[in-house]
């Protein structure tokens, strides 16, 4: 029943946040798929064992959550959900509804603390289904969370 979690490779804080001197910091998730069910992405630092039962506390490395409002599957014919990488010249239509999106989680304090300790961090995302899935209970929903890359961004 639980969708698969993601854990990053160790990220060197020296390269991720070269200075502690920032006003805000965030972890951004790029290229997120939203074609399936809706879910909460719970973001943890340095807790690769986190799952949907892990308490959402700072001590457990919990940073925050982003939410995906999914499309709930395909209602169309073959090709209905295929997102093209290119756009034809003079095509005035807006982008495909399933064009992947970007989400961010505020992580200022957690990242400031990690930067102060100079430790490597691992980012874990635990997807927790909220709605929008219609299928036999026994079927796998493991690949709900799909994205291209994450980035750690700080702001002055």
């Amino acid at each position: 029943m639980q969708a698969n979690a993601y854990t990053s490779e160790p990220i060197g804080m020296g390269s991720a946040l070269p200075s502690e001197d920032f006003a805000h910091a965030a972890i951004e998730f790029h290229g997120l798929d939203h074609s399936g069910g809706s879910f909460e992405g719970r973001v943890f630092l340095n807790n690769p064992d986190a799952d949907e039962h892990t308490e959402l506390t700072l001590e457990n490395g919990y940073v925050g959550s982003f939410y995906i409002f999914g499309h709930g599957g395909c209602y169309g014919d073959v090709g209905h959900c295929e997102v093209s990488d290119t756009q034809r010249a003079y095509d005035p239509r807006q982008s495909h509804p399933l064009t992947p999106e970007v989400k961010a989680v505020r992580a200022t304090e957690a990242l400031r603390r990690a930067a102060a300790h100079g430790e490597d961090i691992k980012v874990t995302v635990v997807p927790v289904i909220t709605s929008g899935i219609d299928q036999p209970e026994s079927e796998d929903i493991g690949d709900l969370l799909k994205f291209d890359h994450l980035s750690i961004v700080s702001y002055r």
């Binding site: 982003f66 939410y67 409002f69 999914g70 499309h71 010249a89 999106e101 927790v128 289904i129 209970e137």
Partner: protein, 315 residues
């Protein structure tokens, strides 16, 4: 109505103080749901996801386009849904000039306690089906029949999840509030603290800007309201939890009315025109409204009521 403008009100206020206004709203929804043509409820609900798929929930990744108005990183979900509600409301008002979309304040103490308010959760009113409880989604003949929406009523399982591990709306809103303004003013109502937190975000765009912070809340409320349950060995999602079907659920319009109101309150503090200039000429398809047109609700002919007391006069 005041000065010819539509006055949108809190649905809880209608339920407690303006029973006749709520009755007229229900009646207009019921009549709209019976109309099979372009003025009908199914047509307007179908603009959002299935079938027509016009809704904008970006921003999407930065992309190159032959035309600048098609850049993918435009953050248009608030203006797009403002135009969508405006058009929907006009078709509703064609059926009764006196009605206006009410907002569902999911941050109010009442909603934090009961979840979906009675105006939307009561299955019947006066022994008649409540059109704010569910709508009929009609299948159509221009999508593949096996994959099309079934001809069925909308479903809603608010706060129900297969894992039982999701926090409440209160916990989720507090998480957002605390991430933006910390734990200050903890003794104030969640609704007031939420407005304070959202207004403190000065920039409209960006992943940590007002628009995307509000969209994250929007996404959570959609999932929470739709919910998920197991029926006969099958996972069944509520329609509010899916972009394809959410606009068929009558509570969709009042959820987005609340979000539009929050944008309006933010604009009062941070400026009506506080949006990237290159967004302004973009046409919000399929409506005949640009982003610039959608910024000022006064120019669009509606208002959000703070409070209203009506006292009979004398002749």
């Amino acid at each position: 109505m005041s000065n010819g403008k539509t006055v949108r009100k809190d649905v809880d206020f209608l339920a407690s103080s303006e029973a006749e206004a709520l009755r007229k709203l229900r009646d207009a929804y019921a009549r709209m749901m019976e109309m099979p043509d372009y003025r009908g409820y199914n047509y307007w609900a179908g603009l959002h996801g299935n079938l027509q798929g016009w809704c904008w929930h970006g921003p999407r990744p930065l992309g190159q386009s032959w035309h600048p108005s098609l850049r993918l990183d435009y953050d248009l979900w608030l203006p797009w849904h403002r135009a969508y509600l405006l058009y929907f409301e006009h078709y509703l008002r064609d059926l009764d000039e006196d009605v206006a979309l009410p907002w569902w304040d999911w941050s109010s103490e009442h909603s934090l306690q009961v979840g979906v308010p009675e105006a939307f959760s009561a299955e019947t009113v006066a022994n008649q089906p409540n059109p704010l409880y569910k709508a009929r989604m009609r299948s159509t003949d221009y999508v593949v029949p096996d994959l099309a929406l079934e001809d069925q009523g909308t479903r809603r399982f608010p706060g129900q999840f297969v894992t039982r591990q999701l926090p409440s709306i209160r916990d989720r809103l507090l998480l957002v509030i605390n991430s933006v303004i910390g734990n200050r003013d903890e003794d104030r109502p969640v609704s007031e603290r939420l407005i304070t937190a959202m207004r403190s975000i000065k920039q409209f765009e960006g992943t940590l800007g007002f628009s995307q912070t509000l969209r994250n809340i929007h996404d959570f409320i959609h999932g929470w309201t739709g919910g998920e349950k197991v029926e006969d060995g099958r996972l069944v999602g509520g329609d509010m939890g899916s972009q394809n079907t959410s606009a068929y659920d009558p509570i969709f319009w009042s959820h987005h009315c609340m979000l539009d109101r929050m944008w309006y309150l933010w604009q009062l503090e941070n400026g009506v025109n506080n949006i990237p200039a290159d967004h302004l000429p973009v046409v919000l398809q399929p409506f005949g409204v640009t982003v610039k047109d959608a910024l000022n609700i006064e120019a669009l002919g509606y208002e959000y009521a703070v409070s209203e007391v009506v006292v009979g006069g004398v002749r």
